[in-house]
Symmetry: C2
């Protein structure tokens, strides 16, 4: 199977979008998120804990507890979320799996893949949670997809 993000990373991104679409500052619990987005609850819990450790989310235990954004959504790029879960190996590792692959000793796809990888990085680095949150607000389709009101 070829893919870009691990399943755990997909869950993290989905949950971030869901949380970002809530009333700012409100804590959202994983029970609600896992039901709405159909993500296994304990696994989602572990996943969001990673985001808390990376200061992307903050959490509160107990009744009315849950998760909220730890900073302004305009300061959270998608790349931060991907980095917290999957890391950044994809930026440097060889697309063909050659252990030594660099500008000096490139693999046959090095050049072309480098260009595509840069575009992916630019997109992840430039797109913030605030950007997407606005898109969601403006689009009924997106609210439906995220099972929002």
């Amino acid at each position: 199977m070829s893919l870009i993000f691990s399943r755990q990373c997909e869950y993290a991104l989905q949950a971030m979008l869901y949380i970002s679409a809530q009333e700012p500052g409100k804590f959202t619990n994983i029970n609600e998120i896992s039901e709405r987005l159909d993500i296994p609850m304990p696994f989602l819990g572990k996943t969001l804990q990673l985001l808390v450790q990376d200061r992307i989310l903050s959490s509160l235990k107990g009744p009315r507890g849950g998760f909220k954004l730890a900073k302004d959504p305009s300061e959270i790029a998608l790349f931060h979320v991907v980095d917290a879960i999957d890391g950044t190996d994809f930026l440097t590792s060889c697309v063909l799996g050659f252990p030594e692959c660099s500008t000096k000793t490139p693999c046959p796809m090095h050049q072309e893949w480098g260009g595509l990888r840069d575009r992916v990085f630019q997109m992840l680095a430039n797109k913030t949670i605030a950007d997407i949150s606005k898109e969601i607000t403006d689009s009924k389709q997106l609210r439906t997809k995220l099972k929002l009101g």
Copy 2:
């Protein structure tokens, strides 16, 4: 971990490049390929069998046996190899993992990711084994990387 191709697909692509750089029509055995490219031999065997089943390689048992390209290298796009090993789900599946994601019901990254995915596909579909084979012939660096003479 985020990646594009499975490890098995990386092995397949590496082996295809190695085979394509050999004298045309000559059978190359997996013992040689696995040693040169540092790929586990039994796993490489299973992998190349998939390419034989897809008519990308042809094989011969017995002494002097091995694998060779099943057709002209200009007719084998990288995409065919990827398709044989990893399949084509990445062309249609949602980058955020939403089960239903299409132009009509897009996820927040649908548009931007679509463009990048198309570029990846174009690259894989346009680039043939012959193209890369030529690059390898013309570059001492690449011959070194593939452990060729």
